[in-house]
């Protein structure tokens, strides 16, 4: 038997999840209290899981690196969350949401998982409304919807441009209610630094108190990783500064497979890079593409004049503008999926039509919408985003078009999980952006929030319980077991090694170097030669890091540079895996674009006969290359076709 078994329940697609729930094992109420669940992360996935499992009566320990669970990176999500409610009566259904997600993911995700996601999507909206999430409403008092890329229906629920914030606060409040009731214990400013296995099962963690520097041991009957994505391997991304891939690397090095690491999403609408000291990139929500039109000048000389400051966007006449998405993709226009929109922007800029001082920007223009709907409506829909833009760029987007450019945004890849969200390590689960499960090669807008909350509120409470039902005989361990002692020692040694390097390079300077390699070779356009070079360059950065990084201060007490160094060491591992995976995948699909594999029109060309599988990478030790395992993707309901947004 292969090590990879997705364990999709039997039966017709639409019955699988119901069948599963009907037959899963349950834990009786008095036993729940005796079972400890460790949940790492308080984003949508972690907070919702912790709250739901606490409500059920399990004894939950929940960790995050921020000073409060409410500050997890999910808070920054802007545009919205999808569900198949079909409130606007525009032909939506569970099947259509399922189908759009599979197609949007370019046929590289699992039918079973995605159908379950679409099924539970409606319950999420009900739950959030019951919690007091103030979604946008119509004058009649019912919920309002907007459209997002990759869909021809309006199924996105939103709370101004702050949907992630409101959903996370809903989950956070549910979580704090459980803290008050004593079912959940919160550990803030505490970072997971190692996973502890006992007899091959995940049974605890070693954490570091970021204020005191102290290492702590925690026992759990199961461990859930909900630590978000690893996009910050690129240094510059739309992710929060603290977003990191370290928990995933710990899991990987303990034997969990890393799935599709190269599947990363470059978001088309971000504020362009302004200079050397840039520390992160700011997203301008995809929802803006509902009312904004993307263009560059039709004539190269106009583009040049704009770049040198001689012409302004508003001086370019209508007939001299190239609305290239509307031109190339008349059916979806400005609402093509993200990967398509990003590549189209890169194509125009590479061809010399880019704007802004660097030439690495395109326009997102609201002029016709303002004329059609009035400034007030646009302000209602996107006011906070326009304000954010103005504060950063110092230009008024109601008057001049916004300038945008693609940036690293989201990672579809992550720790491999089966249908139950369990990794290849028994007792270790992964949820939210941290797992690879539902988005294939490209995630549709407003589907990450849906997946995070689906995993936490509606999937893990069942599947984790199914696992824990067999754990009631495992007694709570003391953390003096040799496995805990050894794990803590290994962590101490690693930190001591980092502190002992005493080199000359700052962590950030090395991270920026890694980021440039990732962006140039493992970014929007990839090819064999570039990826091979990238692997060499990353190895060189790794060597430089481990011999020449400088971390002032010491291990005890607060040491922000040490935290960053430890996370960078893990990003280097992830960068290497991303490049390897991209090199192996000799096809273009979704966000993974291999220049060698494209149609004559420049669209992604999949190789279904060779690559209709999930790449699962197994760690083989520091000195050896990882081993590739394949999970074949079997499509029983949907027929694989070339995506067509024309």
């Amino acid at each position: 038997m292969s090590k990879i078994n997705a364990r999709i329940p039997e039966g017709p697609l639409a019955q699988k999840w119901t069948n599963y729930k009907d037959h899963q094992k349950l834990v009786n109420p008095s036993n729940k209290r005796k079972l400890d669940v460790i949940i790492i992360g308080t984003g949508l996935a972690g907070a919702s899981a912790a709250a739901a499992l606490g409500e059920m009566g399990f004894n939950v320990k929940n960790f995050c690196i921020q000073d409060s669970p409410r500050r997890a990176h999910s808070i920054a999500a802007q545009g919205g969350i999808n569900a198949a409610k079909n409130y606007p009566n525009d032909g939506d259904s569970v099947f259509r949401l399922f189908y759009d997600t599979i197609k949007g993911g370019d046929y590289r995700s699992r039918e079973g998982n995605v159908h379950r996601l679409a099924e539970v999507s409606n319950s999420i909206i009900d739950q959030c409304v019951a919690q007091g999430v103030p979604f946008a409403r119509e004058y009649g008092g019912l919920l309002d919807n907007r459209s997002f890329g990759g869909a021809q229906v309006s199924r996105t629920f939103y709370a101004k441009g702050q949907t992630g914030q409101q959903l996370l606060l809903g989950a956070y409040q549910a979580l704090m209610r459980q803290v008050n009731l004593g079912t959940v214990t919160m550990y803030t400013r505490t970072e997971l630094v190692e996973i502890v296995l006992v007899d091959g099962k995940a049974h605890g963690i070693i954490s570091r108190d970021l204020v005191t520097g102290e290492l702590q041991r925690h026992f759990g009957h199961a461990v859930v990783l909900a630590t978000g994505g690893y996009g910050n391997a690129f240094f510059l991304s739309t992710n929060a500064m603290g977003s990191n891939g370290s928990a995933l690397v710990k899991a990987y090095q303990k034997g969990a497979m890393f799935a599709n690491p190269c599947m990363a999403q470059i978001h088309p609408t971000c504020i362009p890079v302004h200079g050397e000291s840039q520390s992160k990139l700011t997203l301008m929500s995809e929802s803006l593409r509902n009312d904004g039109r993307i263009w560059v000048p039709k004539k190269k000389e106009d583009a040049e004049a704009i770049r040198s400051g001689k012409l302004k966007a508003t001086q370019i006449a209508e007939e001299n503008r190239d609305y290239y998405l509307e031109r190339r993709y008349p059916a979806f226009g400005n609402l093509v999926p993200r990967d398509v929109a990003s590549r189209a922007a890169k194509e125009r800029c590479d061809a010399g039509y880019g704007v802004g001082a660097t030439g690495l920007a395109v326009y997102l223009d609201f002029k016709s919408s303002i004329e059609r709907l009035g400034q007030k409506t646009i302000e209602d829909r996107y006011g906070n985003l326009f304000q954010m833009y103005e504060k950063i760029v110092d230009e008024n987007p109601y008057e001049t078009p916004m300038m945008i450019y693609p940036a690293m945004h989201y990672t579809m890849g992550g720790i491999w999980v089966d249908y139950e969200l369990q990794t290849t390590i028994p007792g270790l689960f992964a949820a939210g952006e941290a797992n690879f499960s539902d988005h294939g090669a490209n995630r549709l807008g407003a589907s990450a929030l849906m997946q995070g909350l689906a995993d936490g509120y509606f999937v893990l409470p069942y599947t984790l319980q199914n696992y824990l039902a067999d754990e009631i005989h495992t007694k709570r361990m003391t953390t003096n077991e040799p496995e805990f002692v050894d794990a803590e020692r290994a962590v101490k040694e690693r930190f001591a090694q980092l502190m002992g390097i005493k080199g000359k390079r700052t962590v950030d300077s090395l991270h920026k170097e890694l980021g440039l390699v990732m962006w140039d070779f493992v970014g929007m356009g990839r090819n064999k030669k570039g990826l091979e070079d990238a692997i060499q360059k990353i190895a060189a950065i790794k060597k430089e890091f481990w011999t020449n990084v400088r971390i002032p201060g010491d291990q005890s007490g607060m040491n922000v540079e040490l935290e960053k160094a430890s996370r960078l060491a893990d990003f280097i591992e992830i960068g290497d895996l991303m490049a390897r995976d991209a090199l192996n995948r000799e096809e273009s699909c979704g966000g993974h674009f291999r220049e060698e594999y494209q149609t004559p029109e420049g669209e992604a060309l999949r190789q279904d006969d060779k690559f209709a599988y999930v790449s699962c990478w197994e760690y083989k030790g520091e000195k050896q290359e990882p081993e590739l395992h394949k999970e074949e993707l079997i499509y029983e309901t949907v027929k694989m076709v070339q995506r067509n947004y024309k």
Partner: protein, 251 residues
């Protein structure tokens, strides 16, 4: 247009919660006016590490004004000289060449300093934990459209819900009161039918917790509203007072 400016920084350094703090003076040159304030601090830290000195610790995460993590007191104002922004959204174009900038942590009894510019704001979590939620469990709730809510109410609830929990209101208040923060949550939930049922109980529990944790009394100075980066309105405090009185009346 962007230009480069040189700055003198007076930064509060404190080596742990029990240590005595002090101001240190640093020079940072060639800062682009297009950079953010925190990017300017990144430059300072890069400089310090290169000199083998311990960099300045400050809280930050999203760097786009939504997570509420950043928390600096800049030249005597929480979140600095620009209006309606958090520290991370503050840009260097608000400063001039040669300027001296004083950077301190939030100063308030309920938010003790833990290191340099970082403070402990867990008291806010404790207040939410005391009642800042609707008591529903996961699953088994009615359809989302079962109860229509007037758009105006939903919009107003949304405005109150935009509080990011940064604590600038507390830092700005001479009494160190958390009324703006507490009232924003109480109002949001009281305005929605789902939260209305527990409104008075919630108000009482959250205010009691706030008092217990060492936040001061509200004397209506309005400093909180001025410094709040999210424009949370004083009218929330009026609504909280109503809920609170109603709760007392019921007792």
């Amino acid at each position: 247009m962007e230009k480069l400016i040189n700055l003198t920084l007076k930064v509060w350094r404190q080596n742990g919660s029990k240590a005595k703090g002090r101001f240190e003076t640093y020079k940072v040159n060639n800062v682009s006016t297009g950079s953010s304030f925190l990017e300017m601090l990144d430059m300072l830290n890069e400089q310090l590490v290169n000199e083998d000195k311990v960099p300045v610790a400050f809280d930050h995460d999203c760097r786009e004004g939504i997570c509420g993590t950043c928390s600096l007191y800049i030249n005597g104002r929480p979140h600095g000289p620009d209006d309606d922004v958090t520290t991370c959204q503050l840009h260097m174009r608000k400063f001039t060449d040669g300027q001296t900038i004083t950077i301190e942590p939030w100063r308030s009894t309920a938010f003790p300093v833990i290191y340099d510019l970082m403070v402990d704001r867990r008291a806010f979590d404790k207040i939410i934990s005391a009642g800042g939620y609707v008591s529903v469990n996961t699953g088994g709730v009615p359809d989302a459209n079962a109860i229509p809510i007037a758009k105006a109410d939903a919009d107003e609830a949304m405005d109150s819900a935009s509080c990011i929990g940064c604590g600038a209101c507390v830092a700005a208040c001479k009494n160190g009161s958390a009324m703006l923060f507490v009232s924003a949550k109480v109002s949001q939930l009281a305005m929605l039918p789902q939260g209305r049922i527990e409104a008075s109980r919630r108000a009482k529990a959250m205010v009691a917790k706030m008092d217990e944790l060492g936040f001061g009394n509200c004397t209506n100075t309005g400093a909180c509203e001025v410094e709040c980066p999210k424009n949370i309105s004083l009218s929330n405090i009026a609504r909280l007072n109503r809920e609170f009185l109603y709760a007392k009346f019921q007792d």
